[in-house]
C-alpha cells in the first residue's frame, strides 16, 4: 500500500479539504478551502491519480463574484457541496466561516443579516469540467453556507442543507428557484443522499432518518434511527458520510458523533420506510467514560473497493489535544455482510507527512483511492495506491456518486 500526500502547494493559506468527488472523466475534483485565515477563499482543483497531476482550475470567489476584500465573510470553502453530472457539469455551493480581510473570525450568530458584513450566502455555480467554463452563478441560500448537496439528475434539482439555521432546501436547476422546506434540527447533517427513486435522505440531530419525497414534495421524519453507542441517546448522530453499496440500492454510512457507528440502510418501497442495520462502531472499544470530542475518533472517507469491501478512515484520537489528533488516521476495510473490520494501513505518507483526518474519498479505477484530508500542517489530499488484494472484483468502477 503506497500513501502519498499531495499538498496544495500553490495555495499557501489553504487549510482544509472537505469536498472531493470523482468526475465522469475518472479524475478527482477537490475543493481547497481556507477557513482559518483572514480573507481566505476556496479553489477547485483536479487530481488525476494515474498521472499524479494536480491542476488548479477555479478561483471560486472570483467565479461567483464575491472578491475576498468586499468586507464580507468570504467564500472560503466548499463543504460537502460539489456534485458532478454525467455530462461533466459540476454544481458547487459555497460555505461560510472564513473571516473577511482584516477580521479574524466570522460569527453568523452575531452578524447573520448585517448589511455590510454578513456572508452574502451560499453561491451556487455551474462549472463545465470539460471546457473549464463557469456557465452560471446563483445564490442558493442567502446569508447561509451550504453544508451538503445532492443532485437529482432526472428532476434537475438539488437538495441542500444550510448552515447555521439548518434548513432543508430544494433547488430547481431549470427555473433556478429555491424552496425552503424548513428547519430540521440544530446540528448540520454532513450529507444528503439519494435512493434509486431519487428520494433524498439525511439524518436529524438524533440520527432519525429524514426522507424528502419528491412526489409528495414533503419532508418525512421517520422512526428509523441510525445506530449509536448504547450509552448515548442518539444526540449528534447525524450522518457524516454515506456511499452506495455496489450492486444494490442500499447505502452504507457513518454517523458524525463521539463514538461513530457505521450503518447499512435498505431503502423501502414506500417513502419513509426502510431497514437500518447496525454495522458496529467505527472505533471499537470506546466506553463513553473519557472526555472525547466529535472529531476524536471521527470516521469518514467511505468508498467501496472493486471487491465490494468498504473502506473508511478513522481518526486515532488517543493523543487528542486540539481539534485534530497528531497521529495518522487508520484506513480500515469492512466486509459489509459480516461487519468484520480490519486495518489496512496508517495514513502516513512516504515522506512522513501525517494525515490525521479524512473527509471524503473517491476510488479511481480499481487501484487508486484519493482522500480529502484535514491536516495539522498542510492542506492537501492523499493518494493511496491499493495493494492487489483490493483491486480484484466485479466493481472495477465505483457507482457514480451524486452527492457531496
Amino acid at each position: 500500500m503506497r500513501v502519498r500526500f499531495i499538498p496544495f502547494d500553490k495555495l499557501p493559506y489553504a487549510d482544509t479539504c472537505w469536498s472531493l468527488i470523482e468526475g465522469p472523466d475518472g479524475r478527482a475534483y477537490v475543493a481547497a478551502c481556507s477557513e482559518r485565515s483572514s480573507g481566505g477563499t476556496a479553489f477547485v482543483l483536479r487530481y488525476d491519480p494515474r498521472t499524479e497531476r494536480l491542476e488548479y482550475l477555479l478561483d471560486v470567489a472570483e467565479a461567483v463574484g464575491c472578491p475576498p476584500d468586499d468586507g464580507r465573510a468570504t467564500q472560503c470553502k466548499i463543504h460537502y457541496s460539489m456534485v458532478i453530472d454525467d455530462d461533466g457539469i459540476m454544481y458547487g455551493a459555497t460555505h461560510l466561516s472564513g473571516p473577511a480581510v482584516g477580521e479574524v473570525t466570522y460569527n453568523p450568530w452575531a452578524t447573520f443579516d448585517d448589511p455590510l458584513r454578513s456572508f452574502v450566502g451560499a453561491r451556487l455555480f455551474a462549472y463545465d469540467t470539460r471546457s473549464e467554463e463557469v456557465l452560471w452563478v446563483d445564490t442558493l441560500i442567502p446569508y447561509e453556507g451550504c453544508r451538503c448537496l445532492a443532485l437529482d439528475r432526472g428532476r434537475r434539482r438539488l437538495y441542500a442543507v444550510g448552515y447555521p439555521r439548518n434548513h432543508f432546501y430544494v433547488y430547481d436547476l431549470e427555473a433556478r428557484r429555491r424552496r425552503d422546506v424548513g428547519r430540521i434540527g440544530s446540528v448540520n447533517p454532513q450529507a444528503i443522499w439519494l435512493d434509486g427513486r431519487m428520494r433524498a435522505y439525511t439524518l436529524d440531530d438524533y440520527g432519525r432518518l429524514l426522507v424528502y419525497d419528491p412526489d409528495a414534495e414533503e419532508l418525512i421524519t421517520t422512526d428509523i434511527e441510525a445506530p449509536h453507542a448504547p450509552y448515548q441517546n442518539g444526540w449528534h448522530n447525524m450522518v457524516y458520510d454515506v456511499v452506495q453499496v455496489p450492486g444494490s440500492d442500499d447505502v452504507a454510512g457513518v454517523s458524525w458523533n463521539v463514538d461513530p457507528y457505521l450503518f447499512r440502510l435498505r431503502h423501502g418501497e414506500k417513502a419513509g420506510t426502510g431497514a437500518m442495520r447496525d454495522l458496529g462502531p467505527a472505533a471499537p472499544g470506546i466506553d463513553g467514560l473519557r472526555l472525547r470530542g466529535v472529531n476524536t475518533n471521527h470516521a469518514g472517507g467511505l468508498v467501496f473497493s472493486a471487491g465490494g469491501q468498504l473502506f473508511f478512515s478513522v481518526c486515532r484520537g488517543d493523543d487528542y489535544s486540539d481539534i485534530l489528533p497528531h497521529a495518522p488516521a487508520v484506513l480500515n476495510v469492512m466486509d459489509v455482510e459480516s461487519g468484520r473490520v480490519r486495518p489496512v494501513c496508517d495514513l502516513r505518507d512516504e515522506n512522513g507527512e501525517v494525515v490525521p483526518y479524512v473527509s471524503r474519498a473517491a476510488r479511481i479505477g480499481a487501484e487508486h483511492l484519493v482522500l480529502g484530508t484535514v491536516s495539522r500542517t498542510k492542506a492537501g489530499i492523499a493518494h493511496v495506491v491499493l495493494d492487489d488484494e483490493f483491486t480484484q472484483g466485479p466493481w472495477q468502477k465505483t457507482p457514480r456518486r451524486y452527492w457531496g
Binding site: 485565515s37 483572514s38 479574524v104 450568530w109 447555521p164 439555521r165 428547519r183 440544530s186
Partner: protein
C-alpha cells in the same frame, strides 16, 4: 479561466501575520468574535411533548405564536398546517407539555390565547392566505387536572373544547386579549382590523368597528392600566377603545419612530407593567423599543436594543425588567433586555439551550412572564420549543 497562481502575490492574512499572531489584542479579537449566543441567565428548551413518552407536536405545526399565563400553567398555541393548543405545567413533578387540542381547519392562533381563571382558556384561530376560509373561530378550552404525576402513572383527562363562533365572518383572529374584571375578550379580525369583543360567560360576540379605516393596523391589542383597550393604526397612531363608551378613538399618541419612517410604524409586540402602568412597545420597522404612558399621553423611545429590526415578543418580568426578542423572519434574532431602573438596554444574543434539548433558538413570536421570575418564550420555527428563561438575579 484558470487562476494564475504561479506569480500571485498573497497578502499575509491578519491573523497569520507573525507580527500580530501572539498579540493580546489578537486574542481579544478572537474572543470578541466568539460571542453572540446568550451568556447570562439559564435556559431550557422544552419539547412540546411528554418528553420520552409521546410524540412532540409535529414539525410544521408547532410554531408557537401565542402564550398565556395561568396558575401553575403556561398555555401556548401554535401555527402551521394545523394549530394546536398546549399546556406546560410548571409544577416540578408534572413539568411537561401536554398537547391539549388540535384545531382542525385552522392554521394559526397568533397572539390570541387568553386565560381567564373562572372561565378557562380561549383561543382565537386564523388561517392566513386561505381565500375560502369561513373565518376564525374562538374556542373555549377547559383543561382538566390530572391525577398522579408525570413521573409515574399519569392519566391526563382530555380537555373540553367548544367553539364560540366566528367573530368576523371570513376573517381570522389577528389577536385577542382578555379583561378579567369585565369577563370579556377583545380581539381584532385579521383582514379589516375589526375590533370585536366576546362575553366569556355567554360567548356572545359584538363588533365595535375598525381600528384603522385604511386597515393599516398592527395585529396587536393591549389592556391599558385604565382598563381601556389600546391598538395601533396608520403611522403608529395609538387608538383607544373604551368599553364603557363603546367607541374607538384616537389618543393623540403615536409610536416613536426614526426620521421619515412613520409610515412603516407598527407594533410588533407590547407589554404592560401592571405596577407602573407603563406600556412597553416594540416596533416592527426598526426594532425600536418605546415606553407609552397613557395617563400622561407621553410616548418616549428607549432605544434600539439589538442591531435588528422587528421586535416580535415582549414581556415584563416579575422584577420589572423587560425581556424581548427582535429579528426579521427567516433570519437569526436576538434576545434583549431593558432595565427600567437604570435605563440599560442589552442585546443578550441568540437564545440557546443546553437543557432539555440542545438547541439554537432563532425565531420567537411571543413571551410571557410568571410571578416566580421565569420568562417564557415561544419559538416559532418548523421545529419549535417552549423556552424557559431564568434571568440572572438583579445586581
Amino acid at each position: 479561466m484558470r487562476p494564475d497562481l504561479d506569480d500571485k502575490q498573497w497578502r499575509v492574512p491578519l491573523n497569520l501575520d507573525p507580527r500580530y499572531k501572539d498579540s493580546p489584542l489578537m486574542a481579544r479579537l478572537y474572543q470578541a468574535g466568539r460571542q453572540g449566543l446568550v451568556s447570562e441567565g439559564y435556559t431550557m428548551a422544552k419539547e412540546l411533548a411528554i418528553r420520552g413518552s409521546s410524540r412532540a407536536i409535529p414539525p410544521g405545526e408547532c410554531a408557537i405564536t401565542s402564550l398565556a399565563m395561568g396558575a401553575g400553567w403556561v398555555f401556548g398555541a401554535t401555527s402551521g398546517r394545523c394549530a394546536h393548543v398546549f399546556a406546560y405545567c410548571t409544577e416540578p413533578a408534572n413539568e411537561v407539555v401536554l398537547d391539549l387540542a388540535a384545531l382542525k381547519g385552522h392554521a394559526g392562533v397568533r397572539h390570541a390565547l387568553v386565560w381567564l381563571p373562572e372561565h378557562g382558556l380561549f383561543a382565537g384561530a386564523s388561517a392566513l392566505g386561505e381565500p375560502a376560509y369561513p373565518g376564525g373561530e374562538v374556542f373555549r378550552i377547559q383543561p382538566q387536572r390530572f391525577v398522579g404525576s408525570l413521573i409515574q402513572e399519569w392519566n391526563p383527562v382530555p380537555p373540553r373544547v367548544e367553539s364560540l363562533g366566528v367573530p368576523v365572518e371570513g376573517e381570522g383572529v389577528a389577536c385577542m386579549i382578555g379583561d378579567a374584571s369585565r369577563r370579556r375578550l377583545y380581539g381584532l379580525s385579521d383582514r379589516t382590523g375589526t375590533l370585536f369583543s366576546l362575553d366569556a360567560g355567554s360567548g356572545a360576540i359584538e363588533t365595535h368597528g375598525l381600528i384603522d379605516e385604511l386597515h393599516r393596523f398592527s395585529p396587536e391589542l393591549i389592556l391599558g392600566p385604565d382598563e381601556r383597550i389600546y391598538g395601533s393604526g396608520t403611522c403608529g397612531r395609538l387608538m383607544r377603545f373604551d368599553p364603557v363608551g363603546g367607541s374607538i378613538e384616537e389618543t393623540g399618541m403615536s409610536l416613536p419612530h426614526f426620521a421619515g419612517r412613520a409610515q412603516y410604524s407598527k407594533v410588533g409586540a407590547w407589554a404592560l407593567d401592571a405596577r407602573t402602568g407603563l406600556i412597553y412597545a416594540g416596533d416592527v420597522a426598526d426594532g425600536l423599543l418605546s415606553v407609552l404612558n397613557v395617563s400622561s399621553g407621553e410616548a418616549r423611545p428607549l432605544g434600539k436594543p439589538t442591531a435588528q429590526p422587528h421586535i416580535r415578543a415582549l414581556t415584563v418580568a416579575a422584577d420589572g425588567r423587560v425581556y424581548g426578542f427582535a429579528g426579521v423572519r427567516d433570519t437569526i434574532g436576538h434576545l434583549f433586555s431593558h432595565a427600567p431602573a437604570s435605563g440599560e438596554l442589552r442585546d443578550l444574543g441568540v437564545l440557546t439551550s443546553g437543557t432539555e434539548r440542545r438547541w439554537y433558538g432563532y425565531e420567537f413570536d411571543c413571551a410571557v412572564a410568571s410571578q416566580d421570575g421565569r420568562v417564557y418564550f415561544g419559538e416559532s420555527d418548523r421545529i419549535s420549543h417552549l423556552f424557559v428563561y431564568f434571568p440572572p438575579a438583579m445586581a
